[in-house]
């Protein structure tokens, strides 16, 4: 197939997944947390299933670009001496963090493929990236107080954990689900804290 077709195909796949992560999952249950924590089998509803199926065709380009953009956004705000440290920290936290969360879920008995879970966790950082961008832009204006930053971060955090918690929760039995989900929350919390810090 011609080269341009290959490029366009890949770009469309990444774009589709980004859109899927950002859009609301389902009108009926805005937060999937309740069902995830309480029911025996997490049955994703139709809207959620669409999103999950789209994220199933994994590719790691999206997470790479998301990670790079997040790191770049944070380095633009950082003082000059520390830019490389900030970049390295964000990069390493994101990749190693996703890897650790995946290994943890696997050790708890879920048979998730590593790449798929890396893909989902990486794409779900996208809302946090958006909120980091918003914070960075607003910091120049008089909106840039700590409390507003926290609001943006909170929104980003909820949006980010929505899809990933359902994805991870699908594969783990109910007794261990909290054990598997806790690292997911912790991972996004850590990223959010880094955004706030830098």
């Amino acid at each position: 197939e011609p080269v341009t077709e290959t490029i366009i195909r890949d770009v469309r796949a990444v774009g589709g997944k980004l859109k899927a992560v950002l859009l609301p999952l389902d009108r009926n249950s805005p937060f999937g947390y309740v069902s995830v924590l309480q029911e025996d089998d997490v049955e994703p509803s139709d809207g959620q299933r669409n999103v999950l199926n789209q994220l199933r065709d994994w590719d790691l380009w999206g997470p790479l670009f998301i990670c790079l953009s997040l790191a770049l956004i944070l380095t633009t705000k950082a003082p000059a001496k520390q830019t490389s440290h900030v970049f390295t920290t964000v990069f390493i936290v994101m990749w190693i963090g996703s890897f650790v969360v995946t290994i943890n879920a696997q050790l708890l008995g879920a048979n998730i493929s590593i790449f798929q879970s890396l893909c989902v966790l990486g794409y779900c950082v996208f809302p946090l990236t958006v909120s980091a961008l918003v914070i960075a832009i607003l910091r120049c204006t008089w909106f840039g107080t700590l409390w507003l930053d926290l609001i943006w971060l909170g929104l980003g955090f909820v949006w980010a954990t929505r899809v990933s918690s359902i994805f991870v929760g699908q594969f783990v039995k109910r007794e261990r689900r909290l054990l598997a989900l806790y690292p997911v929350f912790f991972f996004y919390l850590l990223l959010g804290w880094l955004i706030l810090l830098f």
Binding site: L68, L72, F87
Partner: protein, 266 residues
């Protein structure tokens, strides 16, 4: 009588098509033994022997510059060859020299972007064009399991057009194997001098290049497997023909002998 004509047909079946192509110049000096890459059919080697006798001398990097244009002319996909090297070379160059005229952070970002571009180009484009190999993954829509597919271009050894230049494949494989070696040398030297700030770039470079090498190695193993299977099935056909022939001959001989023996006994 009928069995005799059957014999003749079976005899024709056994003829393999290794005829000499008279359009090829004969009495050409023997080309150097091809690399262990199995895609080079015997015929295509003979056809391109003038090129291949010149090619070994071009493999040392010092002679790239004087004959750069003629170097690229030997390839049937010169653009793909240049892209194959372009991103890798740029990335390596910027890694080495970049900190002289831009900040570290820009060096890292640009290196990572170039390395990612190089990975994509080698995986999707140059592999397909230069050696006809492809590796990708397919997600099973039913179970959600990932299947890795390593494929080689469907071609028989008679289709020498699909068997690209031996130059192309030699170029591709040498550059492909050289890249992780170079990056791991950089990695080791960085570790040795305790410079850890390039760690991110180097680990990215290593991961991407090693995964490309691994994917193409498995593709080529698959290709070798296919070639072996083809040869085996060809040999099996031949053996079956021989067995048939032999069985018929044996049966014939037995009846004939029995008849004769029976005749003689009586």
């Amino acid at each position: 009588m009928m069995q005799q004509s059957d014999d003749d047909n079976n005899g024709h079946d056994l003829e393999f098509t290794t005829c000499v192509d008279s359009s090829v110049p004969q009495n050409v000096p023997a080309p150097p033994p091809p690399s262990c890459h199995p895609t080079n059919g015997v015929l295509s080697n003979m056809i391109q022997s003038p090129a291949t006798t010149a090619a070994p001398s071009l493999q040392q990097p010092s002679s790239y510059t004087p004959s750069a244009i003629s170097f690229l002319n030997k390839s049937s996909h010169p653009i793909a060859c240049s892209f194959h090297i372009l991103f890798k070379g740029l990335g390596f160059l910027i890694y080495m020299m970049g900190s002289k005229f831009m900040e570290d952070i820009m060096v890292t970002v640009i290196c990572i972007l170039l390395l990612a571009a190089d990975f994509w180009v080698v995986k999707n484009i140059t592999g397909r064009l230069l050696v006809g190999l492809r590796w990708w993954n397919k997600v099973d829509p039913v179970t959600g399991m990932t299947n890795w597919m390593f494929e080689s271009a469907a071609s028989n050894s008679q289709n020498s057009n699909a068997r690209n230049n031996s130059f192309d494949s030699r170029f591709f494989w040498s550059v492909l194997y050289l890249t992780p070696v170079l990056w791991s040398l950089c990695f080791l030297s960085a570790m040795f001098w305790f410079e850890f700030q390039c760690f991110v770039t180097l680990s990215c470079a290593l991961v991407l290049s090693v995964s490309n090498v691994y994917g193409y190695y498995k593709c080529s193993a698959d290709q070798r497997e296919k070639l072996k299977q083809w040869m085996d099935s060809g040999a099996e056909l031949g053996v079956r023909a021989m067995v048939r022939n032999g069985a018929l001959g044996w049966i014939l001989g037995r009846f004939g002998g029995g008849g004769d023996g029976g005749g003689r006994m009586q």
